[in-house]
């Protein structure tokens, strides 16, 4: 057990390190540099050199990376070149937004996908199932940047049920916070609903063909009881795995929703930082996202082994 944990920890460190190097190289290879974002059109050759020197950007790349690494190991991820906001602060304000968006979208996805799958998996390829399948594809073909304006037009501008933009931290005002997060969360949820529904349905259909189900039926157990107690549990394994993956991908992928709903999350921050060549901010956020991703995978894997003892650990 301990060796397993240590092994995963080592994996985390190695992955984080490699990613930090790759991100560093990638952003520094981009044309332009932060002086343009800072000075705008007021760039003269002299100004630019002065500023580059002040920012520590005219030393060799490996040196710059080394400095960053040393600071990072001491917990100092630096600041934005433009606003001087610390990277830590940007992450501290942005991360909860993304976490909440993901939680809401996943909760809604499960709340819709599970019941529908439970119903339709009993009669596959019948009309109800076909309707659900078609509907699912509608959701999948509607990416967030398409759903969001439609949701806003109907529920915000039309019905005035929700705000069009804005965010209040949960700690400040939980009710407002949830109220603000519903439309953005819904905009993110469509793809997840489709995926979870199809997967669960698929698993349930296969499980329902298993011998132990036939046996339960022959014992006279009702269909509903079979479904809930016998069939559903094994099916949750794949669901768990896929959820882990889905959430991992959403981690820094919420940019579009954050941009449209004017929320200050990590997706928006990292894209803006890349555009403005705000190197330290890009590195810091990329690092945090990568770590969060690895930790997430670890948790999922661990849950997996706990839940199904037959699965071996590698």
């Amino acid at each position: 057990m301990l060796s397993y944990l240590l092994k995963r920890l080592a994996q985390l460190v190695v992955v984080a390190f490699i990613i930090s190097v790759l991100v560093f190289l990638l952003v520094h290879l981009l044309p332009g540099d932060p002086t343009v974002s800072i000075l705008g059109g007021n760039v003269t050759a002299a100004n630019r050199q002065i500023l580059l020197h002040e920012l520590g950007l005219n030393t060799p790349l490996y040196h710059q990376y080394w400095i960053w690494l040393i600071h990072a190991l001491h917990g100092n991820l630096g600041q934005s070149y433009l606003t001087h906001e610390t990277v830590g602060h940007v992450i501290a304000t942005g991360f909860p937004i993304d976490v909440e968006l993901i939680i809401i979208s996943q909760v809604v996805a499960f709340a819709v996908a599970i019941p529908v799958a439970l119903i339709t998996s009993r009669r596959p390829n019948r009309p109800l199932d076909n309707i659900a399948t078609t509907g699912t594809f509608g959701l999948l073909a509607l990416p967030p940047f398409l759903i969001a304006p439609i949701l806003v037009a109907i529920f915000a501008v039309g019905l005035h049920w929700f705000p069009a933009t804005g965010y209040v931290p949960f700690s400040q005002n939980p009710a407002s916070n949830l109220h603000d997060m519903i439309l953005p969360g819904l905009a993110l949820t469509a793809g997840s609903i489709a995926v979870y529904y199809r997967l669960l349905r698929s698993d349930l259909i296969m499980t329902l063909q298993e011998d132990f189900i036939t046996m339960a039926r022959s014992k006279g157990l009702s269909n509903r009881r079979i479904m809930m107690r016998q069939a559903f549990r094994p099916s949750t394994f794949s669901l768990l795995a896929v959820a882990g993956v889905n959430i991992g991908a959403l981690l820094a992928g919420t940019f579009i929703v954050e941009y449209l709903f004017a929320m200050d999350g990590l997706g928006y921050s990292i894209v803006q930082a890349v555009q403005q060549r705000d190197y330290l901010l890009v590195q810091g956020i990329a690092l945090v996202v990568a770590i969060a991703y690895v930790v997430l995978q670890f948790i999922i894997d661990f849950l997996f082994t706990v839940v199904d003892p037959r699965v071996t650990r590698e």
Partner: protein, 553 residues
């Protein structure tokens, strides 16, 4: 789609937020008007003649957030100036008739040769931290601005600044310099407290706590989320402000910003997209003010920036052909909401600097002839037209592509991000880029963009981006800079404008249209009164004064 946060920036602070590489720009400068409906007391949108009500809170939806509140190091676009007008005061401000009036200053007078300007401050003004506004503080501000990589250029001509008494600052110049008051209405004219200057000196990378003399006091700023300021009870302009607090919320997507106004999430929005005007005009109860009619100083214009030093745009025939092939009216109809008029230069009709410049009119046949002539010598001219990844800008380039290819050009369209775009423009590594610039209270503040002294070959950094080196322009610019005689100045800038129409470093695409739209409750947002009682410039390309705003009901 997405504008980088600084998309509206890019230009020089002289004119307080000049250039933008996209057509969804920024900047301060002249022009402000009230058009269309106003469901508010007084009839005219944004102007309220009723009795102001004290108290309440206003929430403003803006286009983007800023980098910071420190004038020497933070590049301000229109949003920067909004924030600045909230917690700071400028030394001078633009009046509705285009003249420059003292604001924080009590008087600003030149000597007979215009080589010295004497600025006397009003007495009894204190900063939010209780410290007094003195000449020493103003000089300290100046020193920081002059030393900065960002703002130093704007103050290049000043040879020294001296203090003759606790409230008097003297600016000295080597040559006559007529436009100092206009400069002091831009980024270099906002005065911050000594404590803020000290904080930055001590720790340059820590964001300093903003200290100003303005109508509101800095309260909280969460970048990309909101900025809030609360009423200054000791504001030197007695009676102001009316609001208890004001909050700005950056909402980058225009459609979402409009939706937020409609759902009541904000009381007022700003927009750089002309369609907003059309969306809300005539829709009760909204009050719509746009930047088109009142023309003072120099407006914000959209244009295609051409590189006069690289082929094929270095050939005058090519530039002439591009100008003739562009149907400005059609472009404006498609993207400008049909609101502005085609430009023939820097100044619109109604401006005192306007003249018949001789800028080519839409003439595709003439363009074709020019292109054929070029083609015989050098082959088909191929041009890469570049813009930022904004959906509207991209569409404009597609329209231009079709118009220009119709006369024989080979045009490819490309998008690059703002940072790279500005980088390329500055180093002359481009052929044709979309741009937006030149809004300013006085044309002299745009000197560096057109001067022959700021040209450099492609590959080197130059502020005269198009690298158009025209000695006649230089002479005219200097004449305008040095002569106090209004008629001479008008002639000078008309000459500049006419020379630009000959040299054609720019293909004009019309004035940009900024708008502000308020709901029924917000009052008097387009009716600032200057300290001497005269009306101020109502709406300056996305900038207004929050001082006189009040909330009804």
């Amino acid at each position: 789609m997405f504008l980088s946060r600084g998309a509206a920036t890019g230009g020089i602070i002289l004119v307080g937020a000049g250039a933008s590489a996209g057509l969804a720009g920024c900047s301060s400068g002249s022009s402000g008007s009230s058009t269309s409906t106003g469901a508010n007391k007084g009839g005219k949108a944004g102007v309220s003649t009723g009795t102001p009500k004290r108290g309440g809170k206003a929430v403003i939806g803006t286009t983007a957030d800023i980098d910071g509140f420190f004038p020497p190091t933070n590049h301000w676009d229109n949003n920067g100036f909004l924030y600045a007008n909230t917690i700071y005061d400028p030394l001078t401000a633009v009046a509705a008739d285009g003249s420059i009036k003292p604001y924080l200053a009590e008087t600003i007078t030149p000597n007979s040769t215009y080589t010295t300007w004497t600025l006397k401050l009003r007495s009894g003004i204190t900063f939010h931290d209780g410290s007094a506004l003195t000449a020493a503080v103003v000089k300290a501000n100046f020193d920081a601005l002059k030393a900065s990589a960002l703002t130093g250029i704007a103050l290049e001509q000043v040879t020294s600044v001296t203090i003759t008494d606790p409230l008097t600052v003297v600016y000295n110049f080597a040559d006559p310099f007529v436009s100092l008051p206009a400069s002091l209405a831009t980024q270099v004219g906002y005065v911050v407290g000594q404590a803020m200057l000290d904080a930055v000196s001590k720790s340059p990378t820590t964001p300093p706590h903003p200290v100003g003399t303005g109508p509101f006091i800095y309260d909280t700023w969460q970048p990309n989320d909101h900025f809030t300021a609360t009423r200054n009870p000791h504001y030197w302009r007695s009676g102001y402000p009316y609001l208890d607090s004001i909050t700005y919320r950056p909402i980058p997507d225009t459609t979402q910003r409009e939706a937020t106004l409609k759902t009541g999430g904000v009381d007022l929005i700003l927009s750089a997209d002309p369609v907003t005007v059309n969306h809300f005009t005539g829709q009760s109860p909204y009050q719509v003010v746009d930047s088109l009619s009142d023309i003072t100083g120099e407006p914000d214009v959209a244009f295609i920036l051409l590189n006069c030093a690289s082929p094929p745009t270095n050939d005058l025939r090519v530039r002439q052909a591009l100008a003739k092939a562009t149907d400005q009216a059609q472009v404006i109809k498609l993207f400008g909401g049909g609101l502005s008029q085609p430009s023939n230069g820097l100044f619109p009709k109604g401006s005192k600097y306007y003249s018949n410049t001789g800028y080519p009119t839409f003439d595709p046949t003439g363009a074709k002839t020019l292109v054929s002539a070029y083609k015989q010598q050098h082959g088909t001219p191929t041009i890469e037209l570049v813009t930022v990844p904004d959906s509207r800008d991209i569409k404009v380039t597609q329209v231009l592509q079709q118009m220009w290819e119709a006369v024989g050009f080979n045009i490819s369209v490309k998008t690059v991000e703002q940072a790279e775009l500005i980088s390329n423009v500055v180093t002359g590594n481009f052929q044709a880029y979309t741009f937006e610039q030149y809004a300013s209270p006085d044309p002299d503040l745009n000197y560096v963009w057109w001067s022959t002294t700021t040209v450099a070959p492609p590959g080197q950094i130059a502020l005269n981006f198009s690298r158009n080196s025209d000695p006649q322009i230089e002479t005219a610019l200097l004449s305008g800079r040095r002569s106090p005689d209004p008629a001479t100045r008008v002639k000078a800038y008309q000459t500049v404008n006419e020379r630009l129409a000959q040299d054609l470093p720019y293909v004009w695409l019309g004035q940009t249209v900024w708008s502000e739209v308020g709901d029924a409750r917000i009052q008097n947002f387009a009716n600032p009164i200057l300290p001497d009682g005269s009306p101020g410039q109502p709406f300056d390309n996305g900038i207004f004064f929050p001082t006189q705003i009040w909330m009804a009901g």
